[in-house]
């Protein structure tokens, strides 16, 4: 009787999740070994690993990998850095009504649709009527076409991502800081430790597990670039903001119809995510066991 209820509760969810995750993975591997094109009927020859070999020689794919990696690296580092700085600024200084206001506003960007954040910033980045260029010219610089200039486009999108995530990460770090007994900070201060000494020898080591788990969260999040790139630049100018998922979409669904080739790209993407996820989890577990 118990066993039956147990299975009745657990199995439906597990089976559906298994079907929804295993099916696409197997299907993507299958597709990637053929040369199926959506726009050409009758093309479905088994070609083995040819798609993967093509990937290595595909300059546009290598470029997409590079753009994805730069975006990933910089957004993870900057959101963590700004998040940490904001959390330290808030910790112990902001209370009551102000803290409620700050918390509400810090959550907002992170729970907003990526389509909305992309378009809001595109609105502000407009070359002639945008508010950013207005402020820039106010302080004496010349206006820029932020999203159409190859040297500023990727950087401009990175700012959007940092704006969206750093405030939330600050709240998460702040929650961790508040969980520590504040006597330890007081004691260090009374013993005459400087701000930097307290940070280096006390706060930072205490925060390490939190920072690692947050970097895992943000690290996987930063791989999802499609919404931002598609709505702000479509990968342009040229291919300067074309990330792997955007390239796979353009090849496989939008223009090329080369669904097999796009599947190969998505399998590479899946492998990278799995490796990264496992690595960071391992590091996290190691630190966690050390500090707990």
């Amino acid at each position: 009787m118990w066993r039956r209820t147990f299975l009745l509760f657990l199995l439906p969810a597990i089976l559906i999740l298994a079907a929804l995750s295993i099916y696409p993975t197997i299907k993507a591997i299958y597709l990637s070994l053929y040369d199926i094109n959506l726009f050409k009927t009758g093309s479905n020859q088994f070609i083995g690993l040819t798609n993967y070999v093509h990937l290595i020689n595909d300059a546009r794919f290598i470029n997409a990998l590079k753009v994805s990696f730069i975006f990933w690296m910089i957004t993870v580092l900057l959101t963590l850095l700004f998040g940490l700085m904001l959390a330290l600024l808030l910790h112990g200084h902001i209370k009551g009504m102000f803290l409620n206001l700050v918390t509400t506003i810090f959550i907002m960007p992170a729970v907003m649709s990526r389509v909305a954040t992309s378009l809001i910033w595109k609105f502000m980045y407009q070359p002639s009527l945008g508010i950013i260029n207005y402020f820039i010219t106010l302080i004496g610089f010349s206006p820029l076409d932020w999203l159409a200039n190859p040297s500023t486009a990727l950087f401009s999108i990175i700012i959007v991502d940092v704006w969206q995530w750093a405030p939330l990460l600050a709240l998460l770090i702040l929650a961790a800081l508040e969980a520590f007994p504040h006597e330890i900070f007081e004691a260090a201060r009374i013993d005459g430790a400087s701000w930097w000494q307290i940070f280096k020898n006390l706060t930072f080591p205490l925060l390490t597990p939190t920072l690692l788990s947050i970097s895992l969260l943000k690290g996987v999040e930063s791989f999802r670039t499609f919404d931002l790139m598609y709505n702000m630049t479509r990968g342009g100018p040229g291919t300067t903001t074309e990330t792997v998922d955007l390239y796979a979409y353009l090849q496989g669904i939008a223009f090329g119809g080369e669904i097999s080739y796009a599947s190969a790209i998505s399998i590479v993407m899946l492998l990278v995510t799995i490796v990264l996820f496992t690595l960071i989890t391992k590091v996290y577990m190691k630190w966690y066991s050390r500090y707990e």
Binding site: T5, F6, F9, P12, A13, I14, L17, S21, Y23, P24, T25, K27, A28, L86, L89, H93, I94, F98, V102, T104, I105, F106, M108, P109, V111, M112, S113, V115, A116, L119, I120, K122, F123, M124, L129, I131, W163, L168, L171, L172, I214, L217, V220, R224, F226, D227, Y230, N231, V244, D245, Y249, I253, I259, A262, S263, S266, I267, M269, T273, I274
Partner: protein
């Protein structure tokens, strides 16, 4: 010497407060700017110096709602989001209950696998599903999107709800079982009512995620598009963008998120970190 030290301390606190408020304002500014933009007339839009003071108009909202895409897209978003959420709750809550109350072999592996699903790159999901829904004739239907969205809502609900159930004291449930309740009766008579606040916040959070979702809906639909897809379609490349109307559409799109942020300030930390 104690007194002047206190004064300087309180000045320092005030300076920090001012800095924090300035930063908070900067973070809020883009949202503020799009909201006031949605109430500007075309004349105020093309003024070379940005206008902070102007006479507000509702014409942009009228244009946005009159556009053939937006209202149907809102309806689609609601239908798809709510259906996938309800299905997710129906399947996820019992599973979460089992995870929080029982130990069984490979439980942690199973939990870890469910967590890892949240990190699947959408592109690896989108292409095979696109192919599959086309080949079984369900491409561009509610059903296809609702089922695909379970991959987002279900893992989230299982993870967050199993945490919530774990915090309900075992004693209450044990007492019910001693009184002769079966596992099923204990679950829906005792545990579910106690978990209502958790179900509401987890449910709203999942709904906001589904409401915001773009990539999957964008690829899996052409006519039954959701709101983010419809809004994104307003900013066609190479064409003049109707910014006033687009601002109004963006505001409509972010309203649930803003409400969620204001109502659920306190629970957000536990929702996001897990």
């Amino acid at each position: 010497m104690v007194f002047p030290l206190r004064v300087s301390q309180s000045i320092k606190e005030k300076i920090i407060l001012v800095i924090v408020l300035i930063i908070t304002f900067i973070i809020f500014f883009p949202i503020y700017w799009i909201i006031i933009g949605s109430f500007k007339s075309t004349v105020d839009f093309i003024s070379p110096t940005p206008k902070f003071v102007f006479s507000p108009t509702l014409v942009n909202y009228k244009l946005a709602l009159e556009r053939t895409l937006i209202l149907p897209a809102m309806k689609n978003s609601l239908i798809v989001g709510l259906s996938s959420l309800l299905l997710g709750l129906l399947l996820g809550i019992p599973a979460a209950y089992i995870f929080s109350k029982f130990n069984f072999s490979h439980k942690n592996d199973l939990k870890f696998w469910i967590l890892s699903l949240r990190f699947m790159p959408p592109i690896a999901v989108v292409i095979p599903f696109y192919d599959m829904w086309i080949s079984i004739g369900l491409y561009d239907t509610y059903i296809a999107l609702i089922i695909t969205y379970l991959l987002i809502s279900l893992p989230l609900i299982i993870w967050l709800m199993s945490d919530y159930f774990a915090n309900i004291p075992k004693e209450i449930e044990e007492a019910a079982m001693i009184d002769g309740c079966s596992l099923f009766q204990t679950f829906y008579k005792i545990s579910i009512p106690l978990a209502i606040p958790g179900i509401i916040s987890v449910g709203l959070f999942s709904f906001v995620l589904l409401w915001n979702e773009f990539f999957i809906a964008f690829v899996l639909t052409t006519r039954n598009i959701t709101l983010p897809v419809a809004v994104a379609a307003s900013s066609k490349f190479g064409m003049e963008i109707p910014w006033g109307q687009l601002c109004a559409e963006i505001v409509i799109l972010i309203i649930p998120s803003l409400i969620f942020a204001s109502l659920f300030r306190k629970v957000i930390k536990s929702l996001v970190i897990k």
